[in-house]
């Protein structure tokens, strides 16, 4: 999250992020250096004992986002402002070549239609050539434009199913799947349980690729998790060894691929629609890192 975010941001945003990062992860940064220097063996043994004794099950989940394909509709104020800007730019500009040609052609036409038209004098300048007026050119260009039919912006009028990637082209959508957790089948971000010997990012990738009847090509944004959801199991399931589970989320952008069948196990939802599908505690944690920007 940190690295690509900083790349896309503007300067004040970048400063804000570095400030936050500096204050938040300062002590961890210092500790990282000291760890890397000498005592690797000690940390390894420590981590081994920790992983054995940890009472939390680890899961890696992926927050797969399909970024918007078309630009959003303008607000009324944005519309007005765009018009104003266009008008102001037009007023402050000079005449372009094309406009000058138009003026000249119109002047020539008025002169032709005037009574004291001296055709020899006029045509001497142009060598008797047939000139294509700028107006004619404009008309031909408009005709050409009419031949081209762009794809429609709002395809949702027909009501595309929720499982289709093509819905809401102007917003970024998040993938939701239905999985059985414990006794219930609930909607959540695709996740998989962590196995020893792999990083959490690999777990998340496995979770994505193991989805039935779908192949999504995703670009994961870095090795760092963007969020965590910790929950304790209900008392019946709780044992000494596993008290609960921690789900670590990783962000990814959809680059290609789609569901091979149109079955319902997938949902592509906007941020505003998440509330209807996710549990409240889960939603609270997930909502933070899903940006609607």
């Amino acid at each position: 999250m940190a690295a690509p975010c900083s790349r896309m941001a503007s300067r004040p945003l970048w400063q804000f992020i570095t400030n936050v990062r500096r204050t938040g992860l300062k002590h961890t940064g210092v500790r990282q250096i000291s760890l890397g220097s000498a005592c690797r063996a000690a940390t390894q043994t420590r981590s081994k004992t920790e992983s054995v004794a940890s009472p939390w099950k680890l899961y890696g989940a992926v927050c797969l986002q399909r970024l918007p394909v078309i630009s959003q509709e303008r607000n009324p104020i944005e519309d007005q402002f765009a018009e104003l800007m266009h008008q102001m730019e037009l007023e402050r500009s000079l005449l372009s070549d094309h406009e000058q040609r138009l003026l000249e052609d119109s002047e020539r036409m008025t002169r032709k239609q005037a009574d004291n038209y001296d055709s020899d004098e006029e045509e001497a300048d142009y060598g008797g050539q047939e000139t294509i007026t700028a107006q004619d050119q404009e008309d031909t260009w408009e005709q050409k434009l009419k031949h081209f039919q762009p794809a429609l912006r709002d395809r949702d009028v027909g009501g595309t199913p929720l499982g289709s990637v093509e819905r809401c082209l102007g917003d970024s959508l998040v993938l939701l799947v239905q999985q059985t957790v414990g006794k219930e089948t609930i909607w959540l971000l695709p996740q998989a349980q962590w196995e020893a010997g792999e990083t959490l990012r690999q777990t998340a990738e496995r979770g994505l690729s193991s989805l039935p009847e779908a192949d999504f090509k995703a670009t994961f944004l870095g090795n760092t998790p963007c969020g965590v959801y910790r929950y304790t199991f209900p008392k019946e399931v709780r044992t000494e060894r596993c008290v609960g589970a921690k789900v670590f989320f990783f962000k990814a952008f959809l680059s290609a691929g789609s569901a091979t069948s149109q079955k319902e196990p997938f949902l592509w939802v906007k941020k505003t629609e998440l509330q209807g599908y996710l549990k409240p505690a889960y939603l609270e944690k997930v909502d933070r890192f899903i940006l609607n920007l």
């Binding site: 940390t43 940890s54 939390w56 078309i70 104020i77 007023e91 760092t224 952008f253």
Partner: protein, 206 residues
């Protein structure tokens, strides 16, 4: 004696006449047969035309002169090279002359009072809108960063190894390319027409 006289006579006569008369005279003087006009007797000097055109004798001064010329040329070249290279003009910074033309000026429209008022108010409205948008963006990013920090904390509590693996930068992420949103969605199986253009940009070399 006769040979010497004949040589001298040959020299004198050869300057004035062509070769065959020379040979016939020789025949007359020496009294023995020669095989053709081109095979003169060994005793006479070969005074043929190519021999008379004496090639220039190479004087000792010439190599030195050539060296001097070469050195002078090299010095001139060095002087020219010492001049700093001419800066390439930035064509964007010089307004082309045709835009300074007065005929191009658009008639400055006089805005009525209401219009200018409306514009001022709209600009202020816009700045307020943008400010709220910016604040919302900053907040959202702050929340996301906070979420990430929490995640790293929890991961650290879990296992140091996974934490270190998470902190490692991903070398395959950059260069990251993404096609941004356009006004209309892409058409399936659309073949864009091939456009031709003549590139007339001036290329400067230093």
């Amino acid at each position: 004696m006769s040979i010497v006289i004949s040589r001298a006579l040959c020299r004198v006569l050869s300057r004035q006449t062509a070769v065959p008369t020379n040979v016939s005279f020789l025949m007359g003087v020496d009294g023995h047969v020669s095989q053709g006009p081109w095979f003169a007797s060994v005793l006479t000097l070969k005074t043929s035309a190519p021999l008379r055109a004496e090639p220039k004798k190479k004087k000792k001064v010439d190599p030195r002169r050539e060296q001097m010329v070469r050195e002078r040329l090299k010095k001139k070249l060095k002087k020219l090279e010492r001049v700093p290279p001419e800066l390439i003009p930035i064509e964007d910074f010089t307004t082309p002359a045709k835009y300074m033309d007065e005929t191009r000026v658009r008639g400055a429209a006089q805005l009525p009072f209401e219009e200018s008022e409306r514009r001022a108010l709209l600009l202020k409205e816009w700045s307020r809108y943008k400010q709220t948008q910016h604040r919302a963006e900053m907040e959202a990013v702050g929340l996301a960063v906070e979420a990430q920090r929490e995640a790293l904390e929890e991961l650290r509590l879990e296992s140091e190894e996974l934490y270190q693996a998470a902190l490692r930068p991903d070398p395959l992420l950059f260069p990251f390319n993404h096609q941004g949103p356009s006004y209309t969605p892409p058409k399936a199986q659309y073949e864009a027409p091939e456009g031709k253009y003549n590139n007339i940009t001036k290329v400067y070399t230093q």
